[in-house]
Symmetry: C2
Subunit: 333 residues, 2 copies
């Protein structure tokens, strides 16, 4: 009985300590990333296979993972992506990491959520160039996919909806918690350096945080690219204007997340800025009318380097073999 | 003491049974695949990262895994591969699975081993189009690679030799043991069906096994494509002749492995045969002067389906971030 009492006391103390530590989470405009726990691991697994499956492209070599490379930064680190027949895409490929924490998808926000987004690149001629009907036929023809769709959705008639829903569910798991800055937010004073803290103070004082806030440090609003000074770009994209046709939306782009920004170069919707320092300087001038000094830039970059989180550990999916009647890829169509 | 004695007797019996079972491995021209155990897991890990790293290509999107997709069959399942700037390669991409069990690499055997092979596609203009010097500069510029090269090879001066040696060591782990046919070879009568056994008997009687023998069912010799009847192809490849310039080597190709052949379609060096049945029929006619009946073909195909082994379970590597001076990809150069 004594031992039990002692255990209870120790346990209570631990609980109190934990509660105490939780209460110390810093109240900042930037919030900690929480891991995502799916209610359907089977759907996540199906979505992962589809994410890695190049049979969703007309050529048979481009998968979601080609431009959103999960081995690295969740993007391809190119100025703009390379798609079907080596076409250059119009805008820089955004990272898929933490994309679930954003209000809309694509630079111009034309998809409301990840599910709607996933359908876009499959059919886009400049990306995977796969008509949706053919994509569905391919997945339907693969016995190992049919059985998984049946287990997850209760029907063996595959639809585009199943495909994009499963991919979206997998993508929700692609968050990158436990960045040094998250640990600092959770009360660990030693998680970031003094320079990084100075950078964060400047990040708030200078007004960067007005757009780059929340869990993702961005992704929560649209903002004009070139607010104070106009931005010159060789990209054809006009941002939200391309979606709404309203003059007020011209050059309005979704504010990109700054999570893992140190490894998601090059920067901006046109991928024109090669380094984080260059991108930060341009942002200061164009959005805030401010020329950061060399020291200020160094501090801001140091702060942003503390935003690199833990990338998800992923086992490479084993894709189900094609069936006898699976339509074959056609790279040169 | 009694209990101990009993244990010893039980233990001895188990050992004897085990030995007995081992002795029952069938004596056939086809041998069981054994898993590969590397003496340097660090080298395997480095090689895995390099295998998945698209920064070894000029474009920044093509990695070894693009054409030798480990999610699926160790190949890209295309007639011929798509390389830099969407160029079509001259021959079908062979599976990397079980490639270590072969006497030479490439269809024409121009590389003696996996290490020599790995250097080829990196620099080939039609594949990754990356000059070796630039590939070495890129890897040397990435801090996370420099430290791994130092740990494995004892120097922080990266060479092409390190890169290809590590990739080759990773590739040696890519064997696919425990196919149903392997279990049959090990004495499990129920591991294959009667039809598969009938197919195997025919495989031996008809002479297929003269070339497709050993652990890999092939990969141990070169043979003329079109031994009895000439083979017509739209591929420019002349096989070994392209390497030696000797007339006797014209159309001599390395005999491909039949391991996992059910999922490594399309077939032949030019990828001209779409199905296993078609490929088997053509092989019978051209190499053996024999027209297999429909039933014979079905049996042979059933046998070959028993050769699909366990593909390695691979965790997706997390690639080390580029350094400040890492040369950037140039997709349109």
């Amino acid at each position: 009985m004594k031992a039990l009492t002692a255990s209870v006391i120790v346990f209570s103390t631990i609980c109190l300590t934990a509660t105490h530590a939780q209460a110390e989470v810093r109240n900042e405009p930037i919030k900690v990333i929480e891991p995502y726990v799916s209610e359907s691991p089977e759907k996540v697994e199906l979505g992962k296979q589809l994410f890695f499956d190049p049979r969703l492209s007309m050529s048979g070599i481009i998968s979601c993972n080609t431009c959103h490379n999960l081995s690295y930064s969740g993007t391809d680190n190119l100025k703009t992506s390379i798609g079907h027949k080596w076409q250059a895409g119009p805008v820089n490929s955004p990272t898929v990491f933490n994309s679930s924490l954003q209000i809309a998808q694509f630079w111009d926000g034309r998809a409301l959520d990840l599910k709607e987004q996933a359908a876009g690149p499959i059919a886009a001629n400049v990306e995977m160039a796969m008509p949706h009907t053919l994509a569905v036929d391919v997945i339907q023809s693969i016995p190992g996919y049919r059985s998984q769709v049946e287990a997850v959705y209760g029907t063996n008639q595959v639809t585009l909806d199943h495909i994009t829903d499963a991919i979206a569910e997998f993508e929700k798991t692609l968050v990158t918690p436990n960045a040094p800055f998250d640990r600092w937010l959770q009360g660990d004073d030693n998680a970031i350096t003094e320079q990084q803290l100075a950078g964060y103070q400047l990040f708030k004082q200078a007004g960067c945080v007005a757009c780059h806030y929340g869990e993702a440090l961005g992704g929560k609003s649209f903002m004009k690219m070139g607010l104070v000074q106009p931005y010159e770009s060789d990209s054809p994209s006009q941002g939200r204007y391309d979606v709404t046709g309203k003059e007020i939306d011209r050059f309005m782009f979704k504010v990109p997340t700054l999570r893992n920004v140190a490894i998601t170069y090059p920067y901006f919707h046109d991928g024109a800025a090669n380094t984080l320092e260059e991108a930060t300087q341009i942002m200061g001038q164009l959005q805030l009318g401010r020329n950061f000094t060399k020291d200020e830039l160094a501090n801001l970059v140091a702060f942003m380097e503390s935003l690199t989180g833990e990338r998800p550990k992923i086992s490479l999916p084993l894709l189900p073999p094609s069936g006898e009647n699976t339509p074959r890829p056609n790279p040169f169509q």
